[in-house]
């Protein structure tokens, strides 16, 4: 699914400024899909042929090398590479055999024997008691540099609120079960080889301006992003390499082809339509012409012209005639009439606005908000309610990432010593006040994919010093830092982005590491610079995290040697393998994991890979939180029904599930009470229906250590949920 990958990239958001600019001439271009798509077809054809002949040449060269190789071991390794190359070549051949990228067929040409699914068996989302109406007011830190959904600067953090979180693609994932539910497509079918997906467009599907969604609109999605009128390097690569083509059958079926079989093909093949009637004037001046225009979408919300006050606020208004408002999965969501996002640059100012009732919702997961700032009269008086909500989102792997290409970290013993010299527990105790937990390993929150035997290495001065001594650092200098026989100080640069809370954490890590004789040189930089430094593999230790998305943990990008070194043996830039991790066993496991067709197989490989990652000490797990905490004014109501408690769990932020509603009468009552000094009972609730691990203090009759058992149980449940 396109939108998910974009959110992944958001970690490296590079914000820039782009003025409205002047377009040179006002003469509008005319969008011309009809003459563009044959060109693109032939471009893809040429690209595929080029890739294929390149691979074939490599195959024949490798065959020759293998024939000349005498060492049996080296030969086996080369053969492994050979089969991988052949596999790749075959992939290109298959794509060529499938014909052109864009194809148009009659309804009669649709393959026979397709099994159509519609996801209707999935549970409802939200609460039937939800009322429509009212306004939900929140704040954003800065005004978006553009409101175009694609093109330069569009990948800013507000795009989620504006498009990605509300727009309907062909299908969506159920936010509780993780299974597929219908979107613009009312049903879908998957080809036998799991690489082609057929979507039948819902005849009711409309854009906000009332125009019906047509199959060709999905081709326009590709046209708008892949044409040379706009600079979108990420999309261009994605559309060329992650999709194999799009075909239309008759007037309501769209086929999306993927380059290889996938466990969840419908999810990978889904993207939203783009309205051709809006992009009539699409041309080389797109970037400027559409800078402040909001396209009609399939979403329940859109921005009306008066809703856009540049530099001040953006208001999304609900479409009262939204086409999906009576459909299952959507009827109890998207309840507020207006979503008002006001620019408040300073978080402490935003907090004061929340306190005064000018903002309806505030995330208070951070301990200082939960334990101190939110212990305030509006909470005591019951005007503001506080909730703790357990979710099931993959835990963000906040950790220290070790670049093993940089000395002294190329030495395993140094890495293991550093693992033991990093006192995350103190950070958790002091900065998070014990609210967070130590992250055990590379992945967490993926259910059965997490290896339960992996535990993070504890802080231990003695063990750390033992490992350092093994690596040759056994002499203590006058400054308390260890040195090796050559007199080299044991110092490692720790790169992180200089946000005040991170600064606090890193300062503690530095003080503690010093006790183990390790000097951490703190290198606090601007966020984008940190990202760049990691992408260029110039860091030694880096504190950061990747935004993982369900359902599968990823390994290839992070651990395959082809992402660490190029053919010449130099560090490869701009890949996610920030560890510079290269290991033969890992390579074959990663490949096997990628090719695995069933979850059981994938789980087996994932567990084994986690052991390798753990043993190599390249990933120093930090902390994780299993919950989010929010404060809301009491008129913002949350579901408490058989379907949903508070908010579905497969989201990171409860607000983004859009299941809340605004109770206008309660708002009047609360404001009147606030004026007259009347109070309500204080509300502070824990919503733990979706909690994955048993609470640390289980009920009295379950004495002993049931926490482990309960966790295993939760994992089994997870397996069921994760299965495609």
């Amino acid at each position: 699914m396109v939108r998910i990958c974009i959110v992944g990239c958001l970690l490296g958001v590079a914000l820039g400024l782009s003025g409205c600019g002047d377009t040179g001439s006002d003469e509008a271009a005319v969008a011309d899909f009809e003459s563009w798509y044959p060109q693109y077809n032939s471009y893809i054809d040429g690209w595929l042929n080029g890739q294929l002949s390149e691979r074939q040449k490599a195959v024949s060269e490798l065959e020759k090398t293998i024939a000349e190789e005498t060492n049996a071991e080296a030969r086996a390794k080369l053969s492994e590479g050979l089969s991988e190359l052949r596999e790749k070549a075959k992939g290109f051949q298959d794509r060529l055999a499938d014909g052109e990228y864009f194809q148009f067929h009659d309804a009669a040409d649709l393959p026979q024997g397709l099994v159509w699914e519609n996801g209707e068996e999935q549970p409802e989302i939200g609460d039937p008691a939800a009322k429509k109406g009212g306004a939900f007011r929140y704040f954003i830190g800065s005004f978006p540099p553009t409101i175009r959904p694609f093109g330069p600067n569009s990948n800013n953090s507000f795009r989620g609120e504006l498009y990605d979180n509300v727009e309907l693609g062909m299908i969506d994932l159920h936010p509780e079960t993780g299974e597929i539910i219908p979107g613009v497509a009312k049903e879908w079918a998957i080809s036998e080889d799991r690489s082609k997906v057929y979507f039948r467009i819902d005849p009711d599907a409309r854009y906000n301006d009332g125009v019906a969604v047509q199959p060709v609109d999905f081709m326009w999605f590709i046209y708008l992003r892949a044409s040379d009128n706009v600079v979108t390097p990420w999309f261009k690569q994605y559309l060329r390499e992650e999709l194999a083509g799009v075909s239309i059958y008759g007037d309501d079926v769209v086929e999306v082809r993927l380059p290889e079989a996938r466990p969840k093909p419908a999810y990978d093949a889904s993207f939203p339509p783009s309205p051709p009637h809006f992009y009539k004037e699409y041309g080389p001046d797109y970037e400027f012409r559409y800078q402040w225009q909001v396209p009609p979408t399939t979403a329940p919300y859109t921005v009306k012209p008066e809703g856009l006050v540049k530099g001040v606020s953006i208001t999304l208004s609900r479409d009262p005639e939204w086409w999906a408002q009576d459909k299952k999965f959507y009827r109890y969501r998207f309840n507020a009439d207006r979503l008002v996002y006001t620019v408040v640059r300073d978080t402490s100012k935003a907090w004061e606005l929340f306190r005064a009732g000018e903002i309806d919702y505030f995330p208070i997961t951070l301990p200082e908000y939960w334990y101190e700032k939110s212990e305030m009269p509006p909470v005591f008086d019951g005007y503001i309610e506080r909730y703790t909500w357990y979710n099931q989102f993959p835990r963000i792997p906040w950790a220290l990432y070790v670049n093993m290409a940089k000395p002294p970290l190329d030495d395993l013993n140094v890495r293991l010593g550093v693992n033991h010299a990093i006192n995350w527990q103190k950070v958790i105790d002091v900065v998070f006040r014990g609210d967070a937990e130590r992250l055990p390993g590379w992945t967490r929150g993926f259910g059965a994919f997490d290896n339960p035997d992996i535990q993070a290495r504890p802080f231990s001065i003695r063990t750390a010093r033992e490992y350092f001594a093994k690596a040759g650092y056994d002499k203590e200098g006058g400054d308390g830092i260890l040195r090796n026989a050559k007199g080299r100080r044991l110092e490692v640069v720790l790169t992180y982005s200089n946000d005040p809370i991170r600064e606090r954490m890193m300062v503690i890590l530095k003080e503690e590491a010093r006790k183990a004789g390790l000097d951490l040189v703190l290198d606090g930089l601007d966020h984008t610079v940190v990202y760049k430094k990691q992408m260029q593999k110039e860091h030694e230790l880096a504190y950061s995290a990747w935004g993982f998305q369900p359902p599968y943990p990823r390994y290839y990008e992070y651990f395959h040697s082809s992402n660490a070194y190029d053919e010449k043996g130099n560090l490869k830039q701009d890949t996610n393998n920030v560890f510079s991790f290269a290991d033969d066993r890992m390579d074959s496991l990663v490949t096997a994991y990628r090719k695995a067709q069933t979850d059981e197989e994938k789980i087996k490989y994932a567990h084994e890979m986690q052991v390798i990652v753990h043993d190599s000490g390249v990933f120093i797990p930090g902390y994780m939180t299993e919950f989010g905490r929010v404060g809301v004014w009491r008129w913002v109501r949350w579901p408490d029904s058989e379907f949903t408690e508070f908010a579905p769990p497969r989201k990171y932020i409860p607000m983004e599930t859009y299941v809340y509603w605004i109770d206008e009468e309660m708002k009047k009552e609360t404001l009147a009470a606030k004026r007259s000094g009347e109070t309500f009972p204080e509300v502070q609730e824990v919503k733990d229906r979706y909690r994955m691990v048993a609470p640390a203090a289980p009920a009295a009759e379950e004495k002993g250590t049931p926490a482990v058992k309960a966790e295993a149980g939760a994992n089994q449940d997870q397996t069921k949920e994760v299965k495609p």
Binding site: K373, E375, D429, V493, N498, A516, G524, L525, V529, P698
Partner: protein
Amino acid sequence: MLRIFGWLLMIVAVLGALGQWFGLEFPTARFPFTVSRDIGWLHAKGQGSDAGFLWFGWLYTLIAFSLGLMLVLRFARGFRFTPLTERRILRFRSIKRGYYSLWIIGILATVASLDHVLVGNEALLVKYDGKWSIPAFTRDVEPARDYGVEGDAAQAPADWRSLRRQFREADTDDFVLMPLVPYAPTGDNVGPVATPLADRDDEGRVMENGELFAGLASQVYDVQRPERQHVRYRYREGVRDGDADGWDREGTRIYGAKFKDGEVIAGSEVWNGEGALADFLAIESSQLCEVHFSPAPPTMAFGSRHPLGTNSRGYDVLAYLYGGLQVNFQATLVYVPLVYFIGVSVGLLMGFFGGTFDLLIQRVIETLSNMPFLFVVMIASTAVPERLKEAAGLWIIVGILAVFGWMGMTYLMRTAALKEKQRDYIAASRVIGASTPRILFRHLLPNSVAIIVTLVPFSVSGLVLALTSLDYLGFGVPSKYATWGQLLRDGLQYLSAPWLVSAAFFMLVGLLILITFVGEAVREAFDPKKFSYYR
């Protein structure tokens, strides 16, 4: 006065040299050698990562010593200033506000130069097992194992504050003498701080500052390490209300309950520890207290001494302010001589030579003064490699400030030189055959430099302000330096912690006012018009 200063300079230089030779660290005197050791190109390459010959430190010591000697010889007993200068000094003394301000600044500088004798986390004097040691004054770090510490912490450098507690509790004649403020300005996280909730009203409800208490209150296992809590209750209107939690000594949560109006709700208690719940609740832990994570408010309770609280990184604010003061003085001592040396000589040369040279330098000055200063600082702060920044962060910033700070006085000097060089005595000395340098330095400089003196205090206040604002914006010195700007920034992020912003504000404003008073008085004393409206 200047003679005493000369003697002081010589003593400091000798102390520093002795300290370097014997591996000791004297307050302030260690400074040149520390800088020389930290910054790569200020010492010769030694073995491995360690510094070799500290040429900069020795050079600095030599210069300081000869400067001191020169001052002592030059202003020997019985030396008298020129009548004009004497009158100026007299007039300065008569302006009490400026005169006393100068004294206060002098006292502050003396206090700041006491360094780790006054503020620091290393013990001044330790007696253990009948042996004496002075950890604060030795350069080598002393491992805790030498002081009877066992277990994991034995390998680490000694933690003198906890050693002092141990020795006191052990009731032997071992003791640790700590500095007056036993916390280092930076790099010394003190963790959470507990404050007692002792007040009760007639009905036994918990009070705080005369009002019924609402918030979280805990009993902790050890008031010195309040992060390990025993039980924590939520209080509303002075009684237990809402969730209660309990932890064992390892920090595992084993108890939970809900209260309503001071009573536990029946059936809401969960217990997962060993033994009986009643025993757990009856464990002797501290009295009821509030646990403050950083930033913690000012408190002197339970043996923690934070009269100004702690900042968001868990550093003692008083120590941090002191560190900031030291940074300001250090920066001033480098910045002012540097800037005035460049500014005065360039200005003098411009005025004296005139012509093409003058025109050329004027253009250079114009170019420099049009450069956006903040951008240069931003670029420099990202471009400098992190190891160098860690070692020499303050000096890089001071260097950049100096590059942009010398232009102001050049035009004044230029004007003065232009005026003076027309005078007869210059012409006379030229006729006698004096060389250009001799004319410049023996005649022109002493006669035109007076106007510059009035600028010095304002340069100092400008520097203090610039350092503070750069830190406030986040482009300042690395976190190993304590700076007031950082404290101000902290204070604005934690509006609910007023002790941060007020401490930084009062120190900054106080120092700036003192400097400004001195500046006004100097300007007044040097004013050629005797009667002016400034009184």
